[in-house]
C-alpha cells in the first residue's frame, strides 16, 4: 500500500502508511515560529487524540502547541530533537516529531496541493 501525505489546517503533516503514521509540523509552521529551541514531546505509549495538543514547540519568540492529525498511540518519538531542535527549521519534513499507531484521522485533512492553497 502506498504512503500517503496529509496536512492539517493547523500546519501539521502526517505520512500515513496503513495503520501507522509519521507526524511533524510543516515548513510553513516552522518559518512562522522562527528559531526553534526546545521541543516537548509526548511519552511513547501515550494516547493522542485528533485535534488535541500532543507536543509543544518553543521558539525564541513563543511557545506553539502542536495538534495531532490522528487519534492513536505514540510508538516512537524523534529523540534527536532533544539536542537539535533546530532540525525542524532546517527541514521540517525530515524532522518528524512522533510515530503513531493510527485508529482514526482528524476530519478535514488535506492533500499537499490543497494545503499549499490554504497557506497562501
Amino acid at each position: 500500500m502506498a504512503k500517503e501525505l496529509k496536512f492539517s489546517a493547523s500546519h501539521e503533516w502526517a505520512e500515513l502508511d496503513g495503520k501507522t503514521a509519521v507526524i511533524g509540523v510543516t515548513d510553513y509552521a516552522a518559518e512562522l515560529m522562527g528559531d526553534i529551541v526546545f521541543v516537548e514531546l509526548p511519552a511513547v505509549g501515550s494516547r493522542i487524540k485528533a485535534g488535541a495538543t500532543f507536543a509543544n514547540i518553543e521558539s525564541v519568540k513563543a511557545v506553539s502547541e502542536v495538534f495531532s492529525p490522528v487519534t492513536g498511540i505514540v510508538t516512537a518519538v524523534n529523540l534527536s530533537l532533544n539536542d537539535s531542535p533546530e532540525l525542524i527549521n532546517r527541514d521540517a519534513f525530515a524532522a518528524y516529531l512522533i510515530k503513531a499507531d493510527v485508529e482514526a484521522l482528524e476530519d478535514g485533512l488535506m492533500t499537499e496541493s490543497e494545503y499549499n492553497k490554504l497557506k497562501h
Partner: protein, 352 residues
Amino acid sequence: MKKTVLYDRLAELGGKFVEFGGFFMPVQFLGILGEHRAVRSGVGIFDVSHMGEFLLEGENAEKEINYLFTNDFSKMPAGKVRYTLMCNTDGGIVDDLLVYKVNDAKYYLVVNASNIDKDREHILTNLKYGSKFTDLSDKISMIAVQGPLAAALTGEIFGKLPEGFYTFIFSKFAGHDVVVSRTGYTGEDGFEIYSENALTVDILNELLKFNDKYNTALAGLGSRDTLRLESAMPLYGHEMNAETLATELGLDAYIKIGKADFVGKAALTSKKPKYRRIGLKITDKGIAREGCKVLNGSEEIGHVTSGTMSPTLGYSVAMARVGVDSDTSDIYVDVRGRPLKAEAVAMPFYKR
C-alpha cells in the same frame, strides 16, 4: 497604531512587524538567534524610534529632576547619561528612564514608548520649580547600533564618538544636529543616535553602506529582548509596573533615599519590600516564560516576569518576582504543569 519613520525602509529590508508600545515595530529580520549573535560578536542595528523623548528646561531644572526622579542628579556632569526610576506617591514605578544632562538648565529624558502619555501627564502634574516641559517624541527618531563593532561602524558616519559608557555628544549629520550617546539595552558596547525624523532614514542608509565591511545585522525587538534578558535589564510592564514598589527590584543604586524630598520618597521610606527580583538558571530543558509559577520545594514563592532561552549561554534564564524572605534553595518553575528544575543565580546572566 503608529509607524516609525523607518517603517517603509525596514519593511523593504525584510522586517517582520508586530505591535509594541503603540507602534508597528520589527520583531525580527533574518532570525532572532542570528541577530542576537551578531550583536554579541559583531554589530546590529535596531530601530528604537518608538522610545519617547522629553526636554526639561529652566534655571531650576536640576531641582526639578531631583524631585521627579529617584536617582541623584546634583553632582552630574554635563554630557553624562544616568538611569533612574520615576515613582508615584505610593512608591510604585511610573517608568524607568534615561536622563541626559546638556547643562544645569537643560536635560533630555528618554522614556518607554508605551508610557509616553502617562509619563508626560505625571511629569506635568508634579512640576514644582517652574521648568518648561516639551514632548519631542513625535519629532525625534532613534537608531541603536550595538555590539563590539558598534564603535567602528558608528565612527564611520560621525567620526568622533562619546568615549565613556553612558556619555553623549552633539554631532552633525548632513549639517544637522544629532545626539550620539554611548548607551544601549543589550549589555554590549553601543550607541544610540537621536535625530530629527527627516534625517533618520538617511542615517540608516549610511550605516547600511558598511554592511559588507562589518557584516552588520538588522535586528528587531525579538533579539533586543533576549539581549536585555541575558544582561538582566528590567523591562517596564514585565519586571515592574505602577504596583511594583521601587525597592523590590534590586535597583537601590538608582534610588537615593537620603536625598531631599522626591515623589515617592515618603512611601519608599515607610514601606517594607514584600518581593524581590531574582535571576534563575533553568537546569531542565524548556523555557520559563512570563507568568509561570515559581516554587521552592512545594511552596509557591512567586512568578516569572521574563524568561527566554539564552543564545549565548545555551540554557534558559528567567527573572522572577518572589517573596522577599523566600527560601530559594530548591526552585522549580511550573511550565504548563511540568515542573522544571531551576537555580537562583546572580544577575546579570551574561556580562561582556
